[in-house]
Subunit: 243 residues, 2 copies
DNA sequence: GCCAAGGGTTGATCCAGATCAAGAAACCGC
DNA sequence: GCGGTTTCTTGATCTGGATCAACCCTTGGC
């Protein structure tokens, strides 16, 4: 709901942040602070970005401030402007402090320097398309509770660490981010989270840390759980074998 | 809402239908009757399809019959299982009688036989991803009237023929298809269409023919009109210059 | 430790769109 | 043309989630 403020990228960065630096010929590294944005401009060349660390949302804001998070991107994901809808103000927002690599080459056409590389690229874009349509399914046809369960399943599987049956993770998205992703309003979402907490399916020891206590029960709440799991699997395969 | 019945593909086809025939080395031609489905099966190899004629929906049905049309595909579009979410029962449905080409090669990896071809493929998948996320934006954040206006704009631009200011076209989608695409219920959609008719923005001389009388007014109803127009433009460019 | 600001929660009320139900057109095979 | 079927329309009613508003909790600056 709130428009992400577009903070300048400069000034007092910590010593670890070396944004904008060339990393050999493997692209330019960009360190983003929380809420920092990269806006896709129509006239700019079509750049390809890879998420290295953190969590990035692809989002757009309508003239009247209605915001929709279109995709949540995790480390390893590739995104470009050409794979995003041409709406004004569309771009990437760091949900938490994150690192991106802007891949070399003026345009996508020259970014991939071999057939193998290109296949990997194709697979990544195809997977993103799959996630996007799954997301459309979720916001189009799931009840609010089912949507929340789907997102929590996704985050647990993409960001979580299994510890004795539970999945513990840093919650990368704020309540508003989650609401904007699920096309719910933050108040409704808060109620739903409270309900899941009351039912002991999840716990939140601090504001940014979440534990999924019973992943099976959570997954039983949404008809899309299996699909999320399968997509997660294909990411892992993609990371090793480019397919 | 209604489950598309999966009619067998055989028996009394018209003389023009020569489905399954090899078309040189350019793939296998598939003629689909209205409502005929191609189900993406997990275990099958990842095939690439091109829409040649007609209109195809990518859709999935939840166990309790909630159906969501994830994408509407027009001639020239490319789609594969790997670019679709891995939900059971996902597949392609012919909204009207259509022709598909199943591109040669066991898997996508070998379908593209050159870098140029591959770029074209990449561009097509990227564009589909863009359309999908735009769709998520529409069903996530637009009111029902805005959604209808967006879809009508899209169909007018993708299927319509401009005749003295109006756009006339065969309506490829049934009311139920439209409703499933827009995540609305068919009754609500019918009311909205009646309202647009009453306002003279559109006219429907027969059930399957529609005329957009005032495209500008229609586009003024939705904040995504410009984006749809831009995507349409990129299709046209893609058709001639591969990217 | 205190204060301010940003997030998150929760209750009360409201409304857009869903659901239910009954017809009315359009289309199809004969 | 005619019956049967599918598709579409429209009215009456209902409800899930939005909206509004107040409050509370956490965090961070000093």
């Amino acid at each position: 709901m709130t428009i992400a403020r577009s903070t300048r990228q400069s000034a007092d960065r910590g010593p670890a942040a070396r944004s904008g630096e060339h990393d050999g010929n493997r692209g330019i590294r960009l360190d983003l602070r929380r809420r920092q944005r990269i806006v896709f401009k129509e006239e700019a060349p079509d750049q390809l970005y890879r998420v290295e660390r953190g969590c990035i949302t692809l989002d757009a804001v309508l003239p009247d401030d209605r915001r929709q998070v279109l995709l949540v991107l995790y480390p390893g994901d590739l995104i470009s402007r050409s794979a995003s809808p041409p709406v004004p103000g569309i771009g990437l927002t760091a949900a938490v402090a994150s690192t991106l690599t802007r891949l070399p080459g003026e345009t996508i056409d020259t970014a991939a320097d071999g057939v193998t590389e290109m296949l990997r690229l194709h697979a990544a874009v195809a997977q993103l398309s799959a996630r996007s349509t799954l997301h459309a399914m979720a916001i189009g046809r799931l009840t609010s509770e089912e949507r929340v369960a789907t997102l929590l399943t996704e985050i647990a599987l993409f960001c979580g660490r299994a510890i004795q049956g539970s999945y513990s993770f840093e919650m990368p998205l704020s309540r508003d981010d989650m609401a904007d992703y699920l096309a719910l309003n933050p108040d409704t979402l808060s109620r739903l989270m409270s309900r899941l907490r009351a039912r002991k399916l999840i716990a939140m020891p601090t504001r940014n840390r979440a534990i999924v206590r019973d992943l099976d029960a959570l997954m039983a709440l949404t008809p899309l759980a299996k699909a999320v799991l399968a997509l997660r699997g294909s990411v892992e395969r993609g990371a090793t074998a480019a397919g």
